[in-house]
Symmetry: C2
Subunit: 289 residues, 2 copies
């Protein structure tokens, strides 16, 4: 069964003959499994945020290289325990799950952060994607889906499924890191360079993407009873024995091979696409062996 | 509140001053609301499939112009009531919700259908997208997101959020229409021309996209207790008083204006993208006024 991507349900399959030569269409999985350790980068546990909610655990990697002030502010909120007893306040279909730190009206509103929507390209090892991109020059930077503009000399993280960003009000500098979202739909790349993109989900997005959609405008929940409670958020560095996580080095031959395999799927696919868009070419991540 | 796309939660916003001039960033919504009746196409109620499940109602538009044999087979199954008491058997995160007609082991397996994965471009009014596409020449055909290859003279429907396709086994001609799926993640365009794309969800995808993800390989559910029951499936033409549905004519100036507005969002967006990918440029649909 495992070779079938969109296979018929088991019962209807009962009479189908087994293929003579099982096609290895999951070539990308094989490459990932066999990639040498040197093609993996270990993620700093101080850049991993572990969020426990009533729906499950979500493990998030932060991206200080792209939004240093936002990431520093988020880490401070985490260390102060301000996300504990927070809430998932919004689930909009084909768009985002959004959550906030514990509201405390007696506290002064945190200082808004600078609009870290892009950064200098200088100093980054940018691996361009071989495929056309609708929005920009797409590629990867040290394990992240990104894009660049060589004419302005800037780079930024791309908005794809599982990307984590910072909610803000209309003025560009009004985000404070206490309200975050992750993408649960088609990659909204039009948000690129319009909002602070601070990380991505490494694991545990599934039960959160499956939360009931909010009934109010933009998918907000109507009242607190509908919101999912956040019980505790910590950095992995604060949790003794928390597993180490790794991401594939996007400058490695293994990652190039994975991307090529995903752009040229075989077996189930009589006509390989010969290309794949940036959001489809996700970076493999894993708990370290 | 309605002007804010990724706004802060109400409580945290309490101290924010109202903007002096509310930006009209939802220009696309305004164009849709004001589009003349002549820019809308009424959908044949015989091409609308109304699926009632334990999670809610999903309204699906079928595309006989692209997969005539599959659509005819699906309509026959619907008219025979064979989807009644069917099951949602698979929910895979960032990929698909998949369901089947009522299994009946005593019945002969339906005849597999031809591989209707593309069709002649001739006879179609193809409106090309002005923006680059990773996979092909993207555009629209009479209200559908599509792509074409002028060198082979073929066109096909694109796989985007809400697209409905026909599950099949590994050989390309093994789908029979009794097992369908809809996309609930980033548009898997690599499926284009690899599977029969037979329609799209007009309404009601939300509670189905929010179903628990299946725990088995590829997101299949483990046992029947986990599956969502399909209570009844009918064509809209079989349901007295069912509302008429319309789709925007993708050859109309209104649709071009909607696409342009979506590619050049303002208000919340300090840096409009200047482009939008095919799956982002969804075709407006509505219950007829």
């Amino acid at each position: 069964m495992k070779k079938l991507l969109l296979l018929a349900a088991p019962l209807l399959l009962a009479q189908a003959p087994p293929p003579a030569e099982p096609p290895v269409y999951n070539a990308a999985d094989k490459i990932i499994a066999e990639a040498p350790q040197t093609h993996w980068l270990t993620i700093d546990p101080d850049d991993i945020m572990v969020m426990e909610t009533a729906a499950g655990r979500m493990v998030i990697q932060l991206a200080p290289a792209f939004a240093p002030a936002h990431v520093a502010a988020i880490k401070q909120l985490v260390r102060r325990g301000e996300f504990d007893d927070g809430r998932i306040v919004r689930v909009q279909d084909n768009y985002v799950v959004q959550w906030t730190a514990r509201p405390d009206p007696s506290k002064p509103k945190p200082t808004p952060l600078p609009a870290e929507y892009e950064r200098p390209l200088a100093g980054l090892a940018f691996t361009p994607s071989p495929y056309k991109d609708t929005y920009a020059e797409a590629g990867w930077v040290s394990g992240w889906q990104a894009a660049r503009d060589t004419s302005t000399g800037t780079a930024w993280l791309a908005h794809c499924y599982g990307t984590v960003g910072v909610g803000r009000d209309n003025p560009p500098d009004t985000g404070d890191g206490a309200e975050l979202y992750t993408v649960i739909g088609h990659g909204p790349r039009h948000l690129d360079r319009n909002i602070a993109n601070v990380g991505r989900v490494l694991a545990g997005i599934e039960p959160h993407a499956a939360l009931p959609r909010g009934t109010e405008e933009l998918g907000f929940y109507k009242d607190d009873a509908q919101r999912t409670k956040i019980t505790r958020v910590r950095l992995a560095s604060q949790i003794p024995g928390f597993p180490k996580w790794q991401m594939m080095d996007t400058a490695s031959p293994s990652f190039a091979a994975v991307s090529h395999a995903r752009a040229n799927r075989i077996g189930f696919f009589p006509r390989p696409a010969g290309a794949a868009d940036l959001c489809t070419l996700r970076v493999p991540v894993r708990e370290a062996k």
